[in-house]
């Protein structure tokens, strides 16, 4: 693996160019360009918040869309990186067949370009929080914990990259993978606390009956742990009343974040190894 990394370092200029190219091509023939990567989360969150506020919560916290966005932006990054990575090798096949470069640059560049979109979207999100604070002065939206955000972003990046290695390599041989990924991601959206709070899981009947096991297993999912962590590091705990009682919000449990970090690293290393074992066979795929 060290040799592969050295080779990758030799081609770092190509990686940078590839990312630039990726960013350029993505919205090349569209009138709104980069705005598209903001329109998707904004529209989704508008609809989600409307539904949550009016149909699902009795006493929704004020500014629920901020809580949804804080978890949804990282989720959509994960989703897009995985979906994009499935096709990276296949669309680059004409180049791969003609010229040598470390193949892993393709999924890496794809994930990095999605990551740049995530960071930009986060920037816009902070502007939005600031605007809300100015218009409706209330709690200062950010916390001291927000300083941990880079760590969370790094874990998210490694997790996405690891899965992207697996998916891009395997999908080159079995194109079923991308359909499986599509379904799994769709289900992931529901078992990740994006449109609800993890406190609902902790206080659910099924969790109380299982003596807390459900909540624990739920948090072993790195996506769930990360969604929670993003929400709780960026935003102050909301004031909610459930059944007329002011409900206490759980503080962020860092254990689960570190477990997510461990899982992410494992997936990154094994994914890279798998990719390297398969990469010479890409051109010869039947």
């Amino acid at each position: 693996m060290l040799g592969e990394l050295k080779e990758l370092w030799k081609f770092r200029e190509l990686l940078v160019t590839m990312v630039q190219r990726e960013l350029k091509i993505r919205y090349k023939n569209s009138a709104l360009g980069f705005l598209w990567s903001l329109i998707n989360p904004v529209v989704t969150v508008l609809v989600l918040s409307f539904v949550l506020k009016n149909f699902m919560y009795d006493n929704p916290p004020a500014n629920i869309s901020a809580y949804v966005l804080a978890a949804y932006l990282p989720f959509i990054f994960f989703q897009l990186s995985l979906m994009d990575s499935a096709q990276t090798i296949l669309t680059a096949m004409p180049i791969i067949k003609k010229i040598y470069f470390p193949r892993e640059i393709l999924p890496i560049a794809s994930v990095i370009s999605n990551f740049i979109h995530l960071v930009l979207a986060m920037g816009v999100f902070f502007l939005y929080l600031l605007a809300v604070y100015i218009v409706f002065p209330g709690d200062w939206p950010l916390q001291i914990n927000t300083l941990f955000l880079p760590i969370l972003l790094f874990i998210s990046f490694c997790l996405s990259l690891g899965f992207s290695f697996y998916i891009s390599a395997l999908n080159t041989f079995y194109e079923d993978i991308k359909y499986v990924v599509g379904i799994v991601l769709w289900l992931m959206f529901f078992i990740t606390p994006v449109m609800y709070f993890e406190e609902r899981v902790a206080n659910s009947d099924v969790n109380l009956h299982s003596r807390g096991w459900v909540y624990m297993i739920y948090n072993f999912n790195p996506l769930a742990a990360l969604a929670n962590a993003y929400r709780k590091t960026i935003l102050a705990p909301p004031h909610v009343k459930i059944n007329g009682v002011e409900t206490k919000f759980l503080p962020l449990n860092w254990t689960y974040v570190w477990i997510a970090a461990g899982v992410s690293m494992t997936i990154l290393v094994t994914g890279y190894a798998t990719f390297n074992r398969l990469k010479w066979r890409f051109v010869e795929r039947p």
Binding site: R21, I25, K28, N29, K98, I99, Y100
Partner: protein
């Protein structure tokens, strides 16, 4: 500069096409992977300042050989050593993205071939001048003709400080003037110590620029020698058809 020692390459040919679950269940007894040897032990070398042409009928393994040298494939067995940076030109516009402009593509291609971004900025004007395509340099390459793509590809390949140039039948689509320019450039390239390995079906081009000629026949080297030794024999060998085999 290039040492090729007993190189072999086998491809696995799957006669039922892509492997899906359906074909696996329905045709499991018929599905077999066939080994299809393309190169069966090829040995030769290219020295510094030398220009070697590879000739042979379609399917003799010429393109596979060049792809191996370009590190697109890994050989099944055997070894090859290349000293210096390789600029492979395996197909027109390989690595050109059709939606990007020629200008952007030049940069991208040059970086794959090993230049840094700073070097690309320095040289891009020279490359554009060489290709003689300045008036259309900001048009997307999907609007380019095959001759124009060949010009662009060749112009990049000779400006990346490569020591070894590997060319696969690219030059034959350019017009006469550009071909002459390429021949002159290859001549200069050799004089400065570079090595050239190319595939062509044009015997007059080979006679003009090649020092040696490697005749590949069904995956083995049939004859190596000067073009004057090899070409007459090659041309007088009747084309074998499938029935005769």
């Amino acid at each position: 500069m290039i040492e090729i020692c007993d190189i072999r390459k086998e491809f696995l040919v799957n006669n039922s096409g892509a492997r899906s679950l359906k074909t696996m269940i329905l045709w499991w007894h018929r599905r077999k992977l066939q080994h299809h040897p393309v190169l069966k032990g090829v040995t030769f070398d290219v020295k510094q300042g030398e220009c070697v042409a590879v000739i042979g009928r379609n399917g003799a393994g010429k393109s596979t050989l060049l792809s191996l040298l370009a590190r697109v494939y890994k050989p099944t067995s055997g070894s090859m050593k290349i000293h210096g940076r390789v600029a492979p030109l395996l197909e027109l516009g390989a690595g050109f993205h059709p939606d990007l402009t020629a200008y952007e593509n030049i940069g991208f291609n040059a970086i794959i071939l090993g230049l840094t971004r700073a070097q690309v900025r320095e040289r891009i004007d020279k490359i554009i001048d060489f290709s003689e395509l300045r008036s259309q340099i900001h048009a997307p390459t999907r609007t380019y003709s095959s001759g124009m793509l060949a010009r662009l590809g060749f112009s990049v390949a000779v400006h990346v400080d490569a020591e070894v140039l590997i060319v696969d039948e690219v030059l034959s689509v350019g017009d006469y003037e550009f071909e002459q320019k390429c021949v002159r450039t290859i001549e200069e390239f050799r004089n400065s110590g570079g090595a050239v390995l190319f595939v062509s079906h044009r015997m007059d081009t080979i006679r003009a620029i090649a020092d040696r000629c490697v005749w590949l026949h069904k995956g083995v080297v049939r004859k190596i020698g000067t073009p004057d030794e090899v070409i007459p024999e090659y041309e007088s060998t009747p084309l074998e058809t499938d029935e005769k085999r």
